[in-house]
Symmetry: C2
Amino acid sequence: MTRKVSIALDAMGGDIGPAVVIPGAAIALERHPDALFVIHGHEAECLPLLDKYPALKAVTTFHHADVAVKMDDKPSVALRQGRWKSSMWRALEAVKKGEADVAVSAGNTGALMAMAKFCLRTMAQVDRPAIAAIWPTLRGESIVLDVGATIGADARHLVDLAIMGSAMARVVFGIEKPSVGLLNVGVEEIKGVEEVKTAGRMLREGGFPHLAYEGFVEGDDIGKGTVDVVVTEGFAGNIALKTAEGTAKQLAAYLRAAMSRTLMAKIGYLFAKGAFDALRDKMDPRKVNGGVFLGLEGIVIKSHGGADATGFATAIDIAYDMVRHDLMAKIRDSLEASFRGPNPDVAAAGPETLP
Amino acid sequence: MTRKVSIALDAMGGDIGPAVVIPGAAIALERHPDALFVIHGHEAECLPLLDKYPALKAVTTFHHADVAVKMDDKPSVALRQGRWKSSMWRALEAVKKGEADVAVSAGNTGALMAMAKFCLRTMAQVDRPAIAAIWPTLRGESIVLDVGATIGADARHLVDLAIMGSAMARVVFGIEKPSVGLLNVGVEEIKGVEEVKTAGRMLREGGFPHLAYEGFVEGDDIGKGTVDVVVTEGFAGNIALKTAEGTAKQLAAYLRAAMSRTLMAKIGYLFAKGAFDALRDKMDPRKVNGGVFLGLEGIVIKSHGGADATGFATAIDIAYDMVRHDLMAKIRDSLEASFRGPNPDVAAAGPETLP
């Protein structure tokens, strides 16, 4: 019998809090009957909700937490006020103590990342953590990282992103050697910053048994699904992600407007309603809800703050899969198997003690 | 009587060359009967085509050019082989000599920018040129710059982009004080790089009579049309532009697939065909074809290399509007009216001669 998957939830995170998190967990439990939950939140708000979902309650350990991190708390404020005692911190701590295999929160990204770094610590083999998004493409799905954990990346960090992203792709797509591209701009000769070029050279020179480096890709390659893993620095990655979300909303609004403009269009809409429903379902952002924090000594999943129960359940699905297919072990494997040589940025600077 | 607008064309640029450029000019001439053309290209290819469009031929001065810059020429190669004698160079030179008011090319971006800098020179008041895109939004259109002229931007360059972009917005949208936002990422405290913060401070502190600075915007604000002008560094801007293009193509493919999947959907499509045609028209990338080079001593418009005659005509439309509404004068006005103070990057470094 396989081991159960224990999932820690920050019930107070997100725009809504427990009224989304607890029903979301109930939905996820139906899909993963071998899941256990460790829920951290305010008992006055959570316990009455839990009573409504007896199946969930039966597999849940509940812990009261006095403090809830606010969605607009700055990371430093969240750390000062919420360390040790907030529901967010306690969910992370459950992972650290081994009481849970993964933590899920819809709380604010900056606070969650700051607390996760403090509580779980960054892996010894990587310089900085990252956030990976699962991105729907014409070919299926791709992983894009970093979408905003840190700003700026040297070549070494980009290589770390490639290693961690491909380990995640092995989990999500079940393929042995995912293809990896470095996001760059398509203007010859000014092609990207030095770090991207250096990272490309390092990845091309090999020694990475668990990934297939395919070279530079451009922004429009993401939606095409040209590679399984798109690697980029966090500033550009966050802008790419948000821009794509904005464009999708924009086109959906155009489509709605077009279909309600004339009587003929409205009649056509009725006939094609099934197709439109399938399309809406395909474009449903709740289906791809869940950023994966990589590079920490533990797995953390960030749900959109505005997610509803269905969306939050998707974030739990991702959490479950990451544990079930052992993301942490795959990342460690990949890091250990990768000959990365000395950090070129450090090497270029030379030893400081020589004249 | 208003002065005619003289437009120099590089007939050899783009994937197709004269067979797109010349019919494109003929389309644009119908919309702008007071346009004159100065066409540079290979006579064996161009003259037979020109004969097919007598109205265009009547307002065209044709010049033979031996050399055509290739779409995959590196900028350095294009400069070495194409300076003085290529159709691309000659079109730019026509602007420099005052024979034309604006140059339009579908040739490769890197080569065109390199030649434009060499031939026309960067304006004395700005450090570096930029490429601005007209971006369709839910509110109408916005201007986004820089979408790939240069990589990396200090605060001063971001402020220059705000000034030049808002001057262009005055031309394109006919408003006196366009709203301007700085593209940033939405994670508190790690909010963006230092340059973006410094540029925000400079823009907020004022002294820019021709723009209304609105603060930071995120990727999804572009499609919403939150501001008239979105300012960003060229790497992130290029990735945002390409990612949005990719997302739009992806959703169009989803829609096509959905509408052909079932008989009911096909019937619905027939009823709603008018609406779909209007939607396709709205999403037609040919309607927003034309990147505007800003910060040079002359106006240059870059058409997509893969544009057809309709798309190339749109690039000519933009060129025409920029001349007719005097983009160069508006940029100069805005630069002169803007108190920008000393370059903070230089100021921060301190005077070099002091100990």
